[in-house]
């Protein structure tokens, strides 16, 4: 399953800047469908920026700039017909800290991305079904089904993070980007999220940025190692960790720096 012939998401000579600082250098990387790709590297290596270039979130930062290209299937997300809004609906994203919308109920949080414009979107009944499916997929349905109308702020940190995953899944993306999704969670919640990642890759492509190498080893099929904005090495996870080709990768995975 992990060995798709054609990768779903591809970056080609991707460069990114924050003002005058170049944070990505000619990154070319493939992400397969129905598999988990982990991006690891020390702090400031550009792994989060890479992730944010994949759904055009990087360009929302002041002074940010992108060159090169990213393809979703055959379509360029920068130069093709998709605008940034459409790209972000196809490629969902979950952040380091849970970000439920505090003014919305649990249900409305999950449904938040369904309406593209005010007044355009699925009916109430369809919305309820989509919300249920998304919460099921995020493994949260049984915990919240009796309090869908309550504020999302009453949930625990781990539940809030799964709520954010459900919210990202509700628009039926083909790729989901996880930016250190367990960095702010306790070990048990972390385990729940990691199990969820296994479930998610049955249906969509998952890209996970993590500074936790054990996590990368546990959840991913392929791992990419980045250093100072460059893609050093990308390989099946087991071979990257046990038999790295590049000495810098070896230094990092054996804990000599980072």
């Amino acid at each position: 399953m992990a060995a798709e012939t054609e990768p779903l998401l591809r970056t080609r000579r991707l460069n990114a800047w924050f003002g005058g600082t170049r944070v990505l250098r000619n990154v070319t990387l493939d992400f397969a469908d129905c598999s988990v790709t982990a991006v690891i590297g020390p702090s400031g290596c550009g792994k989060s920026t890479l992730l944010r270039c994949l759904n055009r979130m990087h360009e929302t930062a002041p002074g940010a700039n992108v060159e090169g290209d990213v393809f979703l299937g055959p379509t360029s997300i920068y130069k093709g017909d998709l605008n940034a809004i459409a790209v972000r609906r196809h490629i969902g994203m979950v952040f380091q800290r849970p970000t439920p919308f505090p003014t919305m109920s649990i249900r409305d949080n999950v449904a938040a991305g369904l309406r593209i414009r005010i007044g355009a979107g699925p009916s109430k009944k369809e919305t309820d079904e989509i919300v249920e499916t998304a919460l099921e997929r995020a493994g949260l349905w049984n915990e919240v089904k009796d309090r869908l109308r309550e504020s999302a702020m009453g949930l625990s940190g781990g539940q809030q993070q799964r709520l954010c995953i459900a919210r990202a899944l509700a628009t039926r993306p083909t790729v989901i980007l996880l930016d250190e999704p367990t960095a702010s969670l306790d070990p048990l919640s972390t385990q729940t999220i990691e199990e969820l990642v296994h479930e998610l890759k049955q249906t969509i492509a998952v890209v996970i940025v993590t500074h936790n190498m054990q996590q990368a080893a546990r959840v991913s099929d392929r791992t990419a190692f980045m250093l100072a904005g460059e893609m050093i090495e990308a390989a099946p996870t087991s071979s990257l960790f046990t038999n790295p080709r590049d000495s810098r990768t070896e230094d990092y995975v054996t804990g000599r720096f980072g």
Binding site: I85, F95, F101, P102, R117, E150, T171
Partner: protein
């Protein structure tokens, strides 16, 4: 040290308690339904009400809000969005200066630009003067409330495919709204009792008027003119008027407090 701060805390509440107690003692007896429904009696005669001044104050508050809230909230949104740029820094500084400006100066300003050119005192001029006083208060609270909304919420909305505009309105503004409403109510409570800016603008009116183009009665002005008159009956009305005014301010403050509490409860739908 703790004892001294405790004493200071007690003394801080004393003026308000003293004022409320005194007002109740002097004015409560004269608050009857007729006080709210009847017009003032001719000078020296007992009884009568302040219906015109109560309505006048409400009209002035409404006019001030129409002027002050959109400008204040709009400016606050701008400052929150462009926190570092030169214009924002200048606007923020000037808004603090305006906030510290003696209110009588605003009254003179309004007289110069809204009374003299149009040849007469008017409710509109009074409302604009009060509205100008609201602007800096509303601007700064709006800015602060927007800034309290975490950037991560903004990002989350953008990542869901929200446009910038919709993110600002339905996530950022919506999240900050209870705080902004509270700020607006505090500003309204602050201007409701202002007298100085009205002296040159709304002027006061012994008769019933709801026109924006005529001089209009207002509680603080009515209290002032009754209080400086030599008649005991007028003094009684002034006490009662002061009590009503302070009640209006207290009610607005309580609503403001309630609106803030909703914020901490999360307030689902």
């Amino acid at each position: 040290m703790l004892g001294m701060t405790y004493a200071a805390a007690m003394i801080a509440t004393l003026p308000l308690l003293f004022i409320i107690f005194h007002l109740l003692r002097q004015g409560a007896a004269f608050i009857r339904p007729s006080f709210f429904t009847e017009m003032p009696k001719p000078v020296g005669e007992a009884g009568g009400g302040m219906a015109n001044a109560i309505v006048g104050t409400l009209i002035l508050i409404a006019t001030a809000s129409v002027v002050g809230l959109p400008v204040g909230i709009g400016a606050g949104l701008y400052l929150a969005d462009r926190r570092g740029n030169l214009l924002a820094t200048v606007v923020r500084f000037l808004s603090d200066v305006l906030n510290g400006l003696p209110s009588i100066v605003l009254g003179i300003f309004a007289w110069e630009f809204l009374v003299r050119p149009f040849g007469g005192f008017s409710a509109l001029a009074g409302g604009v003067a009060l509205g100008a006083m609201m602007i800096p208060l509303v601007t700064r609270t709006t800015e602060e409330m927007i800034r309290l909304v975490p950037v991560s919420l903004r990002e989350a909305a953008l990542a869901l495919g929200y446009t910038r505009w919709r993110t600002s309105v339905s996530i950022v503004l919506r999240t900050a709204l209870p705080g902004i409403v509270t700020g607006a109510l505090v500003a309204i409570a602050r201007i409701a009792g202002e007298t100085a800016p009205l002296l040159f603008t709304a002027l006061g009116n012994q008769f019933w008027s709801t026109s924006l183009h005529e001089p209009i009665a207002a509680l603080p002005l009515q209290i002032f003119s009754y209080a400086i008159s030599p008649y005991d009956t007028a003094h009684a009305q002034a006490w009662a008027g002061a009590l009503v005014l302070i009640a209006i301010v207290l009610i607005i403050s309580l609503i403001a407090k309630y609106a803030t509490r909703g914020r901490h409860d999360g307030g689902g739908d």
